[in-house]
Amino acid sequence: MRIQVWGILVVAVVLPGDAFAQTNAPDGWLNPDWNKPAITNANRKPAPRRSLVGMWGPAEGPGAGTQASGVQLKPNNGRPENELPYTPYGLQLYRSHHALEGKDAVLPAQDNDPRNRCEPLGVPRYNHYNIRLTQFFQDEYKVDILYHYDNRWRVIWTDGRRLPKLVDGGVEIGGELREPRFFGYSVGRWVDDYTFEVQTIGVMPDDRVWLDSTGRPISEQARITETFRRVDYDTLVWSETIDDPKVYTRPWEAMRMTFRLHDPRTDVQEYYCSPFEQENYNKLFGTDAGSKGAP
């Protein structure tokens, strides 16, 4: 099998030796560099053709990917321009979610966020939960995205297969019903040499996943369209539009975030949900911090 690209190795080879020069690498263990110089005409390099390979982080710094207040383009802050076009069912669903963030936030003891039970967040919530150093690999058949949080990865097929048909209870493939998945079923294509478009359907039902940390909903009828535009060598713009007629009356754009290329040798610290550590945290701090009672 002819493998065209397997990310880190290739990136490491094609980069000039000083391209990722860093001083913050004790014993060779590179720490993330969140203070990269701005891309200007003087240092801009052309984007490689049809490649997303590399380690990418939010250009504005690690905090920019947190999205604690809700999806990037529509923070849940009560401003009219950020209100989402809920269907009656979508609004009912939102009101049944008791989130720890956003304008309707509750205290920790009262929340029902599936994240706090260490449930997989699913797509698209992985795009909206502490998205930090995110690694892309690709070969001639697929693009893989490795999310930092919980060491999760997803596959986007690029080998020409068609997106399955969305049906009640999941998707249809070859005349058979297939189960919904936390990461759905994703197919991608290159719109041009620098723009990659991904469609995802077949995600988990609305009683299993949320869209964001403020309790916005997403349902199994969602179709998520993502666009990855390689602006130049060091810059990627990741956009996401949600079309979910069960929950929202019209499609809307949730994210258009700029990412910067990081040194592929960067050591990425673990960031995960452990039920044991979660329980310990709640026992020591979370439950008391979120209680209403007097001390």
Partner: protein, 137 residues
Amino acid sequence: MRARHVIVSIAAVALLGQAPLIAHHGAAAYEVGKKVVLKGTVKQWIYSNPHCLLTLEVTGEDGQVVQWIVEGQAPNVVFPAGYRKDTFTFGDKVTVTVEPVKNGRPLGRFLAAVTADGQTLGPANSGATNPNAASQP
């Protein structure tokens, strides 16, 4: 014992420029805009997900000792701010500035810390931003 007995100093401050970046359980539990400065002795430092926790014994003006617990973000988030697994060790004398919880319990989140060896650290959150970031293309 009420938390106020152990407050060394307290002041309402405007946390200018501090975005709501505490991700795990939101800001609803905190008295946002207040800070409490604690001088105490480290009992335990847990460098773990989902949040780092510092347990501190603080002696109040009345001589009574209160145990405070201070939280920061997860290790990968606080690392760029300089917090490490051995930043605090048992018996260290430290000064920690916290934003307290609303319900009056001796709990809060890091705004700043001065370690036993005099190192000053900022908020243990993900507030770091790249000052060089270009605008969205």
